[in-house]
């Protein structure tokens, strides 16, 4: 931000301004001519901080959104520990771990894309996105096979639900409701993410995102990492609880 801003004289030193949360900026007239800067922002700085704060608040709401279903999990888990452990044993831990690995790699490639965007490296934004899409796709593919295996074993809750493991009562069905609810919601987030990345490829290739303005890429990166974090919790919660007993 420029120190020649007319506001500086009016409201003290830049440091104070920062503390008070005031956005000091170039005048309106200058601002309108900057590419990629929306008319209602005074500076790139203000625009960037706004979009990150907005994105983070969006993630906060995502935390609470997943929180509702996690809450159900926590409650039923504390009530029906053994049924949950038994039900969890039916899941394939290896596949779960594999998928975790795949997703972590996708998070990494997302960072690569964001990093490239910061440096204005057009090629690597695209590669990063492509790799992330690839890993995300693998994850969903594996998930598809997992789901169809459940379907074949009649582990999908509903009238066809059948349980052949240890007799631990109906709560196993609740486990599978939660399993499908949680992983389904997670997968839905990934599908949306992959869709957005596919859309991003074109502008990325055309060099829309520059070192000055790549908020979209960075913001999307946050979303993708968040989806990864959800899985980081889902993996032990769903796959690992019954292993030892």
């Amino acid at each position: 931000m420029s120190n020649t801003s007319p506001w500086n004289d009016l409201i003290g030193t830049p440091d104070q301004k920062h503390e008070e949360g005031i956005v000091v900026s170039d005048s309106h007239a200058e601002a309108t001519h900057q590419p990629g800067l929306a008319h209602h922002f005074e500076s790139y700085e203000q625009q960037k901080e706004s979009s990150f704060l907005g994105m983070w608040l969006f993630l906060v709401q995502e935390v609470m959104f997943f929180g509702g279903i996690f809450c159900c999990y926590v409650i039923y888990r504390s009530l029906y520990g053994e049924a949950f452990a038994a039900a969890s044993r039916e899941l394939n831990v290896f596949i779960g771990a594999l998928n975790t690995t795949v997703l972590l790699f996708s998070s990494f490639t997302m960072v690569v894309a964001v990093n490239a965007a910061k440096q204005g490296n057009r090629k690597w934004i695209v590669y990063g996105l492509l790799l992330t899409i690839l890993f995300g796709g693998i994850f969903l593919g594996v998930k598809y096979f997992e789901y169809s295996a459940k379907w074949e074993h009649n582990l999908v809750p509903g009238p066809n639900f059948e349980w052949h493991g240890d007799d631990v009562g109906r709560p196993v069905e609740i486990f599978y409701c939660l399993y499908f609810g949680m992983t389904g919601m997670h997968a839905l987030h990934m599908v949306v993410g992959i869709g957005i990345m596919l859309w991003m490829l074109r502008p990325a290739w055309r060099g829309k995102w520059t070192p000055e303005n790549h908020n979209f890429v960075e913001g999307f990166g946050l979303y993708w990492h968040f989806v990864d974090i959800v899985w980081i919790f889902l993996f032990p919660f769903l796959y690992l609880i019954g292993l030892a007993t």
């Binding site: 029906y80 520990g81 053994e82 049924a83 240890d166 007799d167 631990v168 009562g169 109906r170 709560p171």
Partner: protein, 326 residues
Amino acid sequence: MRPEFSLFPEQASTIASKVDALYFFALGISAFFSLLIALVIFAFFIKFRRRRAGEVGAKTHESMALEIVWSVIPLIICMVLFVWGAIVFIDMRTMPDDATEYYATAKQWMWKFQHPEGQREINSLHIPVGEPIMLTMTSEDVIHSFFVPAFRVKQDVVPGRYTTVWFEADKVGTYHLFCTEYCGSHHAQMRGSVTVMEPDDYQAWLAGGGPVAAPQELGEALFTQHICNTCHFEDGTGRGPSLVGIFGSEVRGTDGSVRVVDDNYLRESILRPSAHVNEGYSQIMPTYQGQLSEVSLLQLIAYIKSISDSPSEESPAPAAVAANGE
């Protein structure tokens, strides 16, 4: 039932006057503050009205002392309300040791009651005056709520578990019974009455219906019918633990957790035996989910409770706090 208009509900239980006292206290506080604020506003409104255009108000900014005063006073009042409310509430939730247990099953849209002596009623309940009554309730479908305004008691009736409510009527008469949890089309028709009778009248009423089997007797029959007795021997030598004396005791599960045996525990053990397997036993008891109606289940439990009562001729003592609602 009093069809005539009144502004205040009848008091017909021992708890009613306690609730009303608390209510009047809270009402007094509310009236005081509402009037105070209304009056002060009105006075200021008149006194400080604008007298000429361009005038501004005095620059009174803030006063720490005032802020403290008007946060602390409400806080204290609130705490008094809370403590008093809590005392009344704990009273409502603590079953007296000598309460007689009645059973209620709610379904869309009726109330089914069963007396300890076995009489059954629909949408009406007859009880003796001056005797603490405890109702163990469950629902066959959706959530309902048992409400007798004259007794000032209310308790939701939840499918899949037992909830309890107790009251001691102290005035003879017939009172409204309402379902107060919205439960579908005829929620408003899910009404009934509670008739409080002199003990003698009550006995006469009981006798009037002819001989009936008590719930625990019906339960005993069910116990054989559903082959429970092939595993649960009285002396504990069967494949399952002896059920004699278990009600109110603490049991340890194979996972080390300890549960108190109450109505809900028994229910769980019968419907989902595997949810909590007893230490020293293996999981072989079949699930009875779907095979027992709510009413039979209540009778089975009544039976198990009856063999848990100490052999001495004491009155039935369902462990007070353990069965306390939910």
